[in-house]
């Protein structure tokens, strides 16, 4: 996994609530058996019309907005467990998604793919939308060690929560699987103890 420390970037504002994983990457794109190439189809049905032409007005098609932070409304990533949604966001080169609430499975998938889900208050996310609307060149700084996001045009900042273990993994680029593989002897001991104790199931 890519390491993450401090990122200063412009934002792509997607002020929509309950953006579901069928919008992030529609099911028809889930047939390939690799992890690459999903960025091209990120938000496909919002981004392109039925003839495959870019939909004017959709934020990814706007020349004004860019950067490595996607800012969205609450309940981002609800719906299916498809990790392809995180692959599509990472594939488009976003490193951060900022929203007032994340769906649980998406949050986990993002964390496993080097995309930092940053949950901030609705008021603070509104403030980002407001500043970016006024000036698309406005940057935010996402400081993972300090667990803080700053809107650089106003100096306004807010703390965010992250599990200390996950923070450590993210800063150092460690995957969960590396840890699990390192404790396999404990897993085997656990299995044995369950057999001895008359396992529940």
């Amino acid at each position: 996994m890519k390491k993450f420390n401090v990122l200063t970037t412009t934002c792509v504002p997607l002020n929509v609530e309950s953006v579901d994983t069928d919008q992030i990457i529609p099911a028809r794109f889930l047939k390939t058996t690799n992890r690459e190439g999903f960025g091209a189809n990120l938000f496909c049905d919002w981004r392109y019309d039925s003839n495959g032409n870019p939909t004017p007005g959709f934020v990814l098609n706007s020349k004004m907005y860019g950067g490595q932070a996607l800012v969205a409304g609450k309940n981002f990533g609800c719906g299916s467990s498809r990790e392809h949604a995180a692959w599509a966001i990472a594939g488009y080169d976003f490193r951060v998604v900022i929203a007032p609430l994340f769906a649980d499975i998406f949050r986990g998938n993002a964390l496993n793919n080097g995309v930092l889900p940053v949950q901030l208050s609705e008021a603070f996310v509104e403030a980002i939308f407001g500043e970016v609307e006024k000036n698309p060149q406005v940057t935010v700084t996402v400081d993972l060690p300090a667990q803080k996001v700053t809107i650089n045009s106003t100096g306004q900042s807010e703390q965010f929560d992250i599990n200390p273990y996950k923070k450590y993994c993210f800063i150092n680029g460690y995957d969960d699987i590396d840890y699990l593989l390192s404790i396999k002897d404990k897993v085997e001991a656990y299995e044995l103890s369950r057999v001895k104790s008359g396992a529940l199931s």
Binding site: S18, K31, C78, S80, R82, D104, K166, D176, I177, S201
Partner: protein
Amino acid sequence: MSQTLFDKIWERHVVESIADGPDVLYIDRQLIHEVTSPQAFDAMRRRGLKVFRPQQVTATPDHNTPTLNQHLPIREEASRKAVEALRQNCRDNGIAIFDLNTDYNGVVHIVGPELGLTQPGMTIVCGDSHTATHGAFGCIAFGIGTSEVEMALATQCLLQSKPKQMRITLKGKLQRGVGAKDAILYLIAQLTASGGTGCFVEYAGEAFRSMSMEERMTVCNMSIEMGARGGLMAPDEATFRYVKGRMYAPQGAEWEEKLSCWKTLFTDSDASFDKEYIFDAEDIKPYITYGTNPGMGMGIDEAIPPDEPNVKALEYMGFKAGEKLLGKPVSYVFIGSCTNGRIEDFRAAAQIIRGRKKAANVFAYLVPGSKSVERQAREEGLAAIFEEAGFTFRQPGCSACLAMNEDKVPAGEYCASTSNRNFEGRQGAGARTLLVSPLTAAAAAVTGKITDPRELM
């Protein structure tokens, strides 16, 4: 110390707790299908890893499979390759697969319980958010991403932080013509599509207790649609009766031993929850959604709230705030999915369809959830009732629930659907989904419009 049902199962599966971090949770059973597993196997090959406990993993292709002419090769190349990759990965790793054209193929969350793979007290995962279904048996069952599929294949464990806990109590009895699907759509509408985020839900109370196992599965299945990672119900005699004698169920002395363990799986009377809600079953009518998330629902005879704030959803659906849906024409009907593709769902549909004809303006997908359901529907004469009414009774698969195979709803068309998601484009680009019960879907199929099923009963 008093514990919830969830606490009891979780605690027994913690291999170790990381200080300031997640728990290492042991996984009893993993189910896999062709969409979310190939990248996990690829990554394992790259890392030189083997499947740790192949006998605890079971596969069934379902998302991409056609629902007609399954004996022929899958026409679409990408779908065919995905199913072939699943077969190869199972062969290479010694994983049991219930393949297409075999007796027990079907939708993963229907097949698991049918085969007795799902048992009380287990931790069960699958790369599919509707894994919550298995919670009906008193399991901690939840959907995972592909990186976690890889972790569970390689180590039989996941790193998980213990979620918050919510209890939803449904008092009293459901009215005639109102079923498990109406109940869960009602609850999601009350709590919203994100009301359960961060939580695991325990469903309690008389209305759930008196449900069959299949109805309980319908309820738990849609826990994810209120944002909850999963939902579960305490196992009881109905659970034990359902599991007993199935292919993977314990037998003899082992059955007795497990049964005595399973009987300890309930929430202690003084255990507490982070959130608690109580509803009355008698308030629930046949339910229908009118928007583009499952929380946008209402009683079938009600009007869309005049102050509905989600204007984008109403525009997509072609509805106006304040209008009723009763009498609106629908051109597609889908009865099936892991939510409502079981035998009781087709019995309910047959109750409405018997002696009536398919409406001329309707195209319907009637898709059993498994080969077992398909066989039973034929044996019970349900398939004959559907065919006599002008419907085609198909072969099992996920089908029009997520439109990964040929079963799609065209842009702009309305579909009364027993599936679980009404997201934009879920049933095909531009399709407009109305989530309903099997009774309501069947009523739409024979009248060609949104109809209160109680009028036809």
